[in-house]
Symmetry: C2
Subunit: 274 residues, 2 copies
């Protein structure tokens, strides 16, 4: 990784032109990385998803060195957001044959909401249903209007996240986190082949064998004896109460401590517990 | 409308910051307007769609005067692209409570491809199927990765456009144009309640009673005795031959001149024939 320098800073903070395809069409991908004293957390998973996203969109990814330059700068706990767009050019939707991809980033000081680790969170089921598009599922592309509309459904501070089902009622994710559910014996996370973003903490827990993939339909919510939300920045939040947008009693998963082992592993992966 | 001035030009060409929500999430809308000697064509329909798009996204649209300032500048035939984003701010996907929307535009000299008006075009059926999302259907928002992926399916010059069906096989639109089909008696255009962009020329032809809404499934393509593609910049292209991504004979609609009356009306609306 290079030191924070003039050229680096200039690139990281440079504005984007009107004709950038990231702005025009959402033609690009992004990553939000937890960085501790210049060391990106779960970087292998973030990098792999970024590469995969560029492949799906048919564009060359920036070199790893160029990406890792974003983690220079002041020490401490930060979140670094990387945006990679297909750059300018092309004829309308048609991408240029040899796009010059554009890389930008910004780092922000960060502290996780540790109260939520222990107390858990209340979550609302969103009215919006995710559309199904296998050609874009899983990657972290810049077309995020569904997430924006879903997140705009509530402003009450006591609701920490919004749960999303797809058009057919399959529970998929939360607006900015992945969903895990426990059947009384093991932890599962829904498949993301039709929609949703495949999070990096989810990937790491799957790889570690601590999580398996299994679908959960809204109509069979009672199969979930425990629920939690995860991402690579916030860690793991146990879900204490799920509110519905219709007249229906909130759902409170009965197992209160089922998440403790998974949370410990997740937080070790993120460097929150050592 | 105001004169082309320093402030105007500065705003129109100003770059966008990293944290603009148009870049981050595609959180905004756009319009592509045919402008003849400062007069925007079908402006009422463009303006109405932009207002409706902002309503759907839950943001205030710029004042009409601010939008119309984009049509100043040199005379001649141009295409002016307007982009309206929700601006900067918010907490992640959560929009700011009082967003300061950002307006940008660019004008480009334009000449329609008149050879296609008379000779018609060859079109390919895209492999990509549009996802169904009633919450976003019809508006011209900035989440256009499906269009980009569909348009990236071919580079042969002889293929003028790509036809798109939705996940259930309903013909919807082309990558940048709307579809019209003729049953031997009347012209129809598919409904756009699940996906697609409701074009302004389509809206004007519907309002004039020259077009009606009716679905057409891929499996019943032979019901179409004639096909054409329309938009507010290019006008109307008769579709001469439709190629398939699988081994199948191209489809050639039998009625060669059914489009002439509709084309005349469309081109009058665009000022191409008087």
């Amino acid at each position: 990784m290079s030191e924070p320098g003039g050229a680096n800073r200039a690139r990281s903070e440079a504005m984007l032109p009107f004709d950038d395809r990231g702005l025009a069409y959402g033609d690009g991908v992004f990553e939000t990385v937890l960085v501790r004293d210049h060391r990106p957390t779960l970087w292998q998973a973030h990098h792999a998803r970024l590469i995969r996203g560029c492949e799906v969109l048919g564009m060359r990814a920036p070199d790893r060195d160029a990406l890792e330059a974003a983690f220079a700068g002041a020490p401490g706990l930060k979140v670094t957001k990387l945006i990679v767009t297909r750059g300018s050019g092309g004829r309308g939707y048609l991408p240029p044959a040899q796009p010059k991809v554009r890389l930008r980033w910004r780092s922000t000081a960060f502290a996780p909401d540790t109260a939520r680790w222990s107390a858990g969170v209340e979550v609302g089921l969103c009215r919006l249903r995710l559309s199904r598009q296998p050609a874009l599922a899983g990657i972290k592309h810049l077309n995020r209007l569904e997430n924006v509309l879903a997140r705009a459904e509530w402003r009450e501070e006591k609701i920490a996240e919004g749960l999303l089902a797809d058009q057919q009622g399959w529970l998929t994710e939360a607006t900015a986190m992945n969903l895990c559910w426990h059947d009384g014996r093991r932890w599962f996370t829904p498949p993301l082949e039709q929609c949703g973003v495949a999070g990096t903490l989810r990937a790491a827990l799957l790889e570690a064998g601590l999580l398996e993939i299994a679908p959960l339909h809204l109509d069979e919510l009672a199969r979930a004896r425990a629920l939690c939300l995860i991402n690579s920045v916030q860690g793991l939040w146990p879900l204490r109460r799920l509110h519905f947008p219709i007249q229906r009693e909130p759902f409170e998963p009965p197992l209160a401590d089922a998440h403790l082992a998974l949370q410990r592993s997740a937080h070790q992966l993120l460097g929150y517990h050592r």
